[in-house]
C-alpha cells in the first residue's frame, strides 16, 4: 500500500534525475584545443549586436569560418549567470565583459590564460593601447583581449561660461581653487531648486581620475595594495565636497543630476543645466546625435601639473575555464580585433550614420593600428567645429590614458571608495574619516582574496 502511495513521488523524482542525467551526458562532448581546426558550436555570453560595429565583424567571422556554428547569447554580461554556468560545468566558450571585472575572475581560476591562443593566431598584447593591455594581464599572463578604449574628457557649456565671464580658452582642471570659484560663478539656483550646476566633478564615478590628477593612485601598480586614504585622495574628496556643498549639498545636487535627460535633445548641455564636467568620450556621440547645435566646448582633462591625462576603461573577450570550443573561441577573438575588421566595421557605422543624417564621431578600438587606420581611412570632418575639435581631444586622450591596475578585489575596492564618497558628500563623515574606513575595508578585502 505504502509503496504504491509513494509511486507518483518516485516517478517525479526519476523525472528530475533524468533531467540532470541529460546535462551530465553533454559533459562528455569533445573539447578542442587552441591549435585545432575551428569547427562546431561556439557559445558566447555578454555580447550583443546593437550596431554595425558588432554586426559587420561577426559577419566577417561567419564568412571566414563557415564550419563554426556561432551562437550569441545576447544581452549584457551577467555575473550571476556566468557563475551558475561555471558551477554547472557548462560555461560558454567565450565571454565579453568589463575589463575591470576580468582580474577577479582570472585570480579565481575562472578564465583560461591565452598565451597559446596568442601564439596560434599571432596575436600580441603589444598591438593594443598600453592602458587596455594592462587591464587584461594578470600575473604577467594575458587573460583577455581588449575591445574599445573609453576615455574621459572635459565638456563645458559655452553659455554658462559666458554667463560667468569665463574665457573658454582658459578653462582647465589644473587649479582646483579656480575650479571652485568657477563652480560658484556658474551655479544658478532658487531656494533648494537648482537651475544649473556650475561644476559637476562626477564623483564617485571619476574618483580615480581626480586622484591621479592630484598625483596619487587609488591602487598600487600590482593591484594588491589600496591607497584610498592617501593625502591626494582626501584632497580630492574635500574639493568635491566644497563644490557640491556650494550648490546646495549632495541631496540637491544628486537629485538634480538624476533628473537630467542625458540621452535626449534636452540634455544638460542643451538645456543649460551644467557648466563644466568631465564626461566619457561616447557622450560626444550622444550630443552629436541629439543636440548638434548645443553650445559645447570639449577640452582635455588635465592634472594639477597641467599635463593632460585620462582614465580609460573598456571591454574584453575572455575564454572561461572549461570552455569546450577553444579553437573557435580563439579565432573569433582574433577575427574581431584585427585592424581590417575594425576598419570595415567603422566604415559601415559611418555610412549608416551619414545615411541617417547623423555625424560620425569615430570608433576607438583599443587597438593602436586599427585606431590609426580608422582615423586615416574612415573619419571625415563633420563640418561642426566643436565636434571636430572634440574628436581631436579624444584622440589625444587615447594616447595619455591610464587604467586602474588589475586587482583581484577590484569590485570591493571600488565599492569601498564609492561608499566613502557618498558618506562624505552626504555629511555623514569627514572626507578623511570616510576614506580611512574605506581603506580598511579595501585592505581587508584584498587580504581575503590573497588568502584564498
Amino acid at each position: 500500500m505504502r509503496t504504491r502511495g509513494a509511486l507518483p513521488l518516485l516517478v517525479a523524482l526519476l523525472l528530475v534525475l533524468a533531467g540532470c542525467g541529460g546535462l551530465g551526458a553533454d559533459r562528455a562532448e569533445a573539447r578542442t584545443g587552441f591549435a585545432d581546426e575551428p569547427v562546431g558550436p561556439l557559445t558566447t555570453m555578454g555580447y550583443s549586436l546593437p550596431d554595425e560595429v558588432a554586426r559587420v565583424r561577426v559577419e566577417r567571422f561567419r564568412q571566414r569560418y563557415p564550419a563554426v556554428d556561432l551562437r550569441l547569447n545576447e544581452g549584457a554580461f551577467d555575473e550571476q549567470q556566468f557563475l551558475s554556468a561555471l558551477a554547472s560545468g557548462r560555461p560558454p566558450d567565450l565571454v565579453y565583459l568589463d575589463r575591470a571585472d576580468l582580474p577577479s575572475f582570472a585570480a579565481r581560476g575562472a578564465l583560461l590564460p591565452l598565451d597559446e591562443c596568442f601564439e596560434v593566431t599571432g596575436m600580441d598584447l603589444a598591438e593594443f593601447r598600453p592602458a587596455a593591455a594592462a587591464q587584461v594581464r594578470y600575473q604577467n599572463r594575458p587573460y583577455g583581449v581588449p575591445e574599445f578604449l573609453i576615455v574621459r574628457l572635459l565638456m563645458a557649456n559655452r553659455v554658462a561660461l559666458a554667463d560667468a565671464g569665463i574665457d573658454p580658452s582658459r578653462v582647465d582642471t589644473a587649479d582646483w581653487g579656480r575650479l571652485e570659484a568657477w563652480a560658484r560663478a556658474m551655479t544658478r539656483s532658487s531656494g533648494s531648486r537648482l537651475a544649473r550646476l556650475g561644476v559637476d566633478p562626477k564623483i564617485p564615478d571619476f574618483f580615480p581620475m581626480w586622484v591621479r590628477a592630484a598625483g596619487g593612485d587609488v591602487l598600487s601598480a600590482d593591484g594588491r595594495t589600496a591607497r584610498l586614504d592617501s593625502p591626494q585622495a582626501v584632497e580630492v574628496l574635500e574639493m568635491a565636497k566644497r563644490i557640491v556643498d556650494q550648490a546646495g549639498g549632495q541631496g540637491v545636487v544628486q537629485a538634480f543630476r538624476d533628473g537630467w535627460d542625458l540621452f535626449g535633445a534636452r540634455n544638460p548641455f542643451a538645456a543649460d543645466q551644467i557648466g563644466l564636467s568631465p564626461m566619457e568620450d561616447w557622450y560626444l556621440n550622444v550630443l552629436a546625435q541629439n543636440s548638434p547645435r548645443a553650445p559645447v566646448v570639449v577640452l582635455p582633462f588635465v592634472g594639477r601639473d597641467h599635463q593632460p591625462l585620462s582614465w580609460a576603461t573598456g571591454l574584453a573577450w575572455a575564454i572561461p575555464q572549461g570552455a569546450r570550443n577553444r579553437a573557435a573561441a580563439c579565432r573569433l577573438v582574433r577575427e574581431m580585433t584585427t585592424p581590417d575588421a575594425w576598419v570595415a566595421a567603422a566604415t559601415a557605422k559611418r555610412d549608416a550614420r551619414l545615411a541617417r543624417g547623423l555625424h560620425y564621431t569615430g570608433t576607438y578600438t583599443a587597438h593602436v593600428a586599427a585606431d590609426e587606420r580608422i582615423r586615416a581611412e574612415v573619419l571625415r570632418p563633420t563640418g561642426l567645429d566643436w565636434l571636430d575639435e572634440g574628436i581631436r581631444v579624444i584622440e589625444r586622450a587615447q594616447g595619455v590614458a591610464f587604467a586602474l591596475p588589475a586587482s583581484p578585489a577590484g569590485a570591493e575596492v571600488k565599492r569601498a571608495w564609492e561608499d566613502a564618497v557618498t558618506r562624505a558628500l552626504g555629511g555623514r563623515a569627514s572626507p578623511a574619516d570616510a576614506l580611512r574606513e574605506a581603506q580598511q575595508r579595501a585592505t581587508a578585502a584584498l587580504a581575503r582574496v590573497g588568502a584564498r
Binding site: L7, G251, E418
Partner: protein, 347 residues
C-alpha cells in the same frame, strides 16, 4: 468549524462562512494541521474508515508530490547546502574550503552587517504598521463602498502585481527631489519637499513611502476578513450604545485579529527580506549613487557579497543570520499573539 466543536461567541449559524473567511486569511493551514493530528491515530486502526483515509492520503501525497519533490530539490537541498557553505570559503568557481566559524566571526566584526541590519529594521518598523493601517483603512472603505467595491478592489490590487524593478525605477522618478511628481504636488500646497532619493536623512523614509504602494495583498486579506464579521455583533453593540469607534475597537478588531496577526507575520518577514526595489533604486543600472549607505539593506549587502565580491561562504553566513533574526522575531510575534489574537472556538 466541525459539528460538535463548541460554537464560540459567534453562533453556529455562520460557522461555514466563518471557516471560509479565515481560510482566506491564511489561518486554514493551522486548522488543517490540527485536524490531521486528531485524525492520525485512526490511520493505524483496522476500521473501514481508516482504509478510506489511507486511500485519500495516498491521493493527497500523489497530488502533493510535485511540490514535495520541488521542495526537497530546490528548497531544502539548497538550504542545507547554504548552511554547509556558511562554514567555508567559497567563490562559486573553486572548490569550497572549510574555514570553521570564520565567516561568523567576521560577520560579528563587520560594521556593514550592523548598518544594513539597522536600515532593514528601521524600514520594517515603519513599513509593517503603516502598510497594515493603510490596507485596513482602505478595506473598511471598500466594505462600505458596495456599488463600486469590485472596481476599487481591482484598482487597489493592481500595484501588487507590478514588477518590483519597475516600481523601483518609477519611484526614483516620482520621488526625485528636484523634478519628481511627489515634490511638485507638495509645492502646490506650499511645501518645499525633501530630497527623497538623495538626502541621507530622507532616503529611508522615501523607501517606506514607496513600499506603501504595494499593500494590495494585505488589503484583500482584510477585505475578506471584514466580510466575515457577523452583522448581528454590530447590531448588538449598537443596541448597547456603542459608537462607531467602539464598534471598530471592540467588534471589528477582535474579529479580524487573526487576519491582522497573519499579515503582521508575513509582512515582517517580507520586509526583513526587502531587496528588489531598493537594489533597483540605489545599486542597479538605473540607480542613483546617493543611497549607497542608507539604501544598503541586509539582503542587498548579502547579494553584494555573493555576486559582486564572489564571497558565497560569507553570504551564506549572512543568510543564516537573517534566518535566525526572522525566526526570533516571528517567535516573539507568535508569543505576543496569544494575548491579542482572538480565535473563535478555541477560547
Amino acid at each position: 468549524m466541525t459539528p460538535g466543536t463548541p460554537a464560540g461567541r459567534a453562533g453556529q449559524h455562520r460557522a461555514g462562512q466563518d471557516r471560509a473567511g479565515r481560510d482566506r486569511a491564511g489561518q486554514g493551514r493551522a486548522r488543517q494541521d490540527r485536524a490531521r493530528h486528531r485524525r492520525s491515530p485512526a490511520w493505524s486502526s483496522p476500521a473501514r474508515r481508516s482504509a478510506t483515509r489511507r486511500a485519500e492520503a495516498r491521493a493527497a501525497l500523489g497530488f502533493l508530490s510535485p511540490w514535495l519533490v520541488g521542495f526537497v530539490v530546490f528548497t531544502a537541498g539548497p538550504l542545507l547546502a547554504s548552511l554547509w557553505l556558511s562554514f567555508t570559503s567559497y567563490d562559486a568557481i573553486s572548490e569550497p574550503r572549510w574555514v570553521g566559524a570564520d565567516n561568523y566571526r567576521e560577520l560579528a566584526a563587520d560594521p556593514l552587517v550592523l548598518k544594513s541590519l539597522g536600515n532593514t529594521v528601521y524600514y520594517t518598523v515603519l513599513h509593517v504598521p503603516l502598510s497594515m493601517a493603510l490596507a485596513l483603512g482602505l478595506a473598511l472603505l471598500l466594505v462600505a463602498a458596495r456599488r463600486w467595491g469590485p472596481f476599487f478592489r481591482t484598482v487597489l490590487y493592481v500595484p501588487a502585481v507590478t514588477p518590483p524593478v519597475a516600481v523601483g525605477v518609477l519611484f526614483l522618478l516620482l520621488l526625485n527631489g528636484q523634478t519628481g511628481l511627489v515634490n511638485r504636488a507638495l509645492r502646490l500646497v506650499g511645501i518645499d519637499g525633501p530630497q527623497w532619493t538623495s538626502d541621507p536623512a530622507w532616503i529611508k523614509p522615501g523607501i517606506v513611502l514607496l513600499s506603501l504602494w504595494s499593500f494590495g495583498t494585505t488589503l484583500v486579506i482584510y477585505y475578506a476578513a471584514l466580510q466575515e464579521v457577523p452583522g448581528h455583533l454590530y447590531e448588538a453593540a449598537r443596541l448597547d450604545g456603542a459608537n462607531a469607534w467602539q464598534r471598530f475597537r471592540h467588534v471589528t478588531l477582535p474579529m479580524i485579529s487573526g487576519a491582522l496577526f497573519f499579515t503582521l507575520v508575513v509582512n515582517t518577514i517580507a520586509s526583513l527580506q526587502m531587496f528588489a526595489e531598493v537594489y533597483t533604486m540605489y545599486f542597479g543600472t538605473a540607480h542613483t549613487s546617493a543611497g549607497a549607505e542608507e539604501g544598503l539593506f541586509y539582503v542587498v549587502y548579502l547579494f553584494r557579497q555573493a555576486f559582486e565580491f564572489l564571497d558565497m561562504g560569507y553570504a551564506s553566513a549572512l543568510a543564516w543570520l537573517l534566518f535566525l533574526v526572522i525566526l526570533l522575531v516571528t517567535l516573539v510575534q507568535v508569543r505576543l499573539s496569544r494575548r491579542f489574537v482572538h480565535y473563535e472556538g478555541r477560547r
